[in-house]
């Protein structure tokens, strides 16, 4: 059996289970509405500004670097799977690939894109 069939069944199950857990409270718990209670908790005091504000662009830079290194990891896995068969040729190929990316990594570190302050 192609493994995607069980995966899809498990996926459906997981979503249903999450949904049940998520929906359980709505059916079982008491419901008493009060204006104060429904206010977002935040940190315990009445809120001063709106619920969401602009966030640091740092998160975005992290996400970008994540994508690019994620792809690198994928290619590394692909090479690792055929390491034995490719031999030294494969090592040279992947070395060039990694070296080019290391240049990018050094640039990012030098520019201070990874500094959190």
């Amino acid at each position: 059996m192609n493994p995607y069939i069980p995966v899809i069944i498990v996926l459906i199950f997981g979503v249903v289970l999450g949904g049940i857990l998520s929906g359980l409270a709505a059916f079982l718990g008491p419901k008493k509405y009060s204006r104060e209670k429904m206010d977002p908790y935040e940190c315990g005091v009445p809120k001063v500004t709106a619920g969401s504000e602009k966030m640091s662009v740092k998160f975005y830079l992290t996400a970008i670097l994540f994508i690019l290194f994620d792809i690198e990891t994928v290619f590394l896995y692909l090479w690792a799977r055929t390491f034995k068969e490719l031999g030294w040729l494969g090592i040279i190929e992947i070395a060039v690939f990694v070296l080019i990316l290391v240049v990018g990594y050094i640039y990012v570190v030098r520019r201070g894109a990874l500094e959190w302050d």
């Binding site: 999450g18 857990l21 998520s22 709505a26 998160f59 992290t62 994540f66 390491f83």
Partner: protein, 370 residues
């Protein structure tokens, strides 16, 4: 070409590859889910008793049935019941759909990943070979990373949908942390693939036949990186920045309560368990018994089918060691600062991980290719 409705339903009642696979899948999955759902209460109990032990106090010990107190084991059951019957408070201004959807995104990746772990050696029943992982596939590792990378959405949606700036901040921090440590986590297992030449977890366990062939001896640095990333991926101490009480209240799930809060717990504990299982599978021989080879065990017990329970027990034992480490570390190490956490991930773990890959490759190449 539509569907041919002249389906031969009688073949559904016969045993063939497909029906055996289907029934085996259903049974294995039911057992797995049954086991996984017991995890959170048990782990919550352990997580209260262990620090009590460490701090020389008692921890929960009152709740029990009649006069049997069972060391307070039923406390977590009582807490679960309480959580489920609590009133659900959805904050005003929360995004109605995503607020309810976020716990689902936290729960299903954990369960899906749990299906890829090989829990024991293959069973043979009436000539049909049944692997003891719910889903066995060629891309093992990558499947696990792929699915667990989806858990980021649960965290980020929860914070975004709560209409709370501290939740949003906490969720962005938690998700940035999760994605940052995903790369060293992925890289730490590349040496394992280099050594064993496969991505299939079942085959990796089978390759670790004797004690000194365990992954930990072949790639000790990988284990270190993997364990550190394990903590970061599950947002556990010392990397539980999202829950830094002083600054961000309870992180991305501040506005969650009742059963939805329990759902986040379930997701967290199941993914802790799965990562522990993965660590034991890759580095500590999975279901293999130390010093006794599989063939010797088969000879000793008479049939491969009797080895399976031993194997499952062995894996659970090894995994519970890692679970213990999780709890132990939580009460031992102080929390990192966020900038320290991110620079640890990007400036230390990533280069070390890459160096680990390169080093292993060169050593292996020199040994193998001459």
């Amino acid at each position: 070409m539509g569907m041919n409705l002249g389906i031969d339903f009688s073949s559904l009642l016969q045993w063939n590859d497909f029906t055996v696979d289907l029934v085996a899948f259903a049974v294995k999955f039911a057992i797995l889910v049954g086991g996984l759902l017991q995890l959170p209460p048990l782990l919550v109990w352990i997580e209260r008793r262990v620090p009590a032990l460490m701090q020389r106090r008692r921890g929960p010990n009152r709740v029990g049935i009649f006069k049997w107190r069972l060391y307070g084991l039923l406390q977590s059951l009582a807490d679960t019941v309480k959580l489920i019957f609590k009133e659900e408070v959805v904050p005003d201004g929360a995004h109605k759909v995503f607020y309810h959807l976020a716990p689902v995104f936290c729960v299903f990746p954990a369960f899906l990943v749990a299906c890829a772990i090989p829990y024991g050696p293959d069973l043979t029943i009436y000539g049909y070979k049944i692997p003891l992982s719910v889903v066995r596939m060629d891309v093992g590792f990558l499947f696990i990373f792929a699915i667990s990378s989806l858990a980021v959405y649960g965290v980020s949606l929860a914070g975004w949908a709560s209409n709370n700036k501290y939740s949003l901040m906490g969720s962005l921090r938690a998700s940035a942390q999760m994605i940052s440590y995903e790369i060293p986590l992925g890289m730490s297992l590349i040496p394992i693939v280099l050594i064993y030449g496969t991505l299939d977890l079942g085959k990796i366990v089978e390759a670790q036949t004797s004690f000194f062939q365990w992954g930990v001896f072949a790639a000790p640095l990988s284990l270190l990186i993997f364990v550190i990333c394990m903590f970061a991926e599950t947002n556990r101490a010392p990397f539980d920045l999202a829950e830094a009480e002083g600054e961000l209240v309870a992180g991305f799930h501040t506005e969650y309560n009742s059963a939805k809060f329990a759902a986040f717990f379930l997701g967290e504990y199941v993914s802790m368990f799965v990562l522990s299982c993965l660590a034991s599978t890759v580095f500590f021989g999975g279901w293999q018994v130390p010093f006794v080879s599989y063939d010797a065990l088969v000879a000793m017990l008479g049939s491969p089918n009797f080895v399976a329970p031993v194997g499952i027990l062995m894996l659970l034992l090894k995994a519970s060691f890692f679970m213990w480490v999780y709890i132990w570390v939580r009460w031992t190490l102080p929390r990192f600062r966020y900038d320290q956490l991110m620079s640890l991930g990007w400036k230390f773990m990533l280069p070390i991980g890459l160096a680990n890959v390169v080093g292993t490759a060169i050593v292996l190449a020199v040994l193998r290719f001459k």
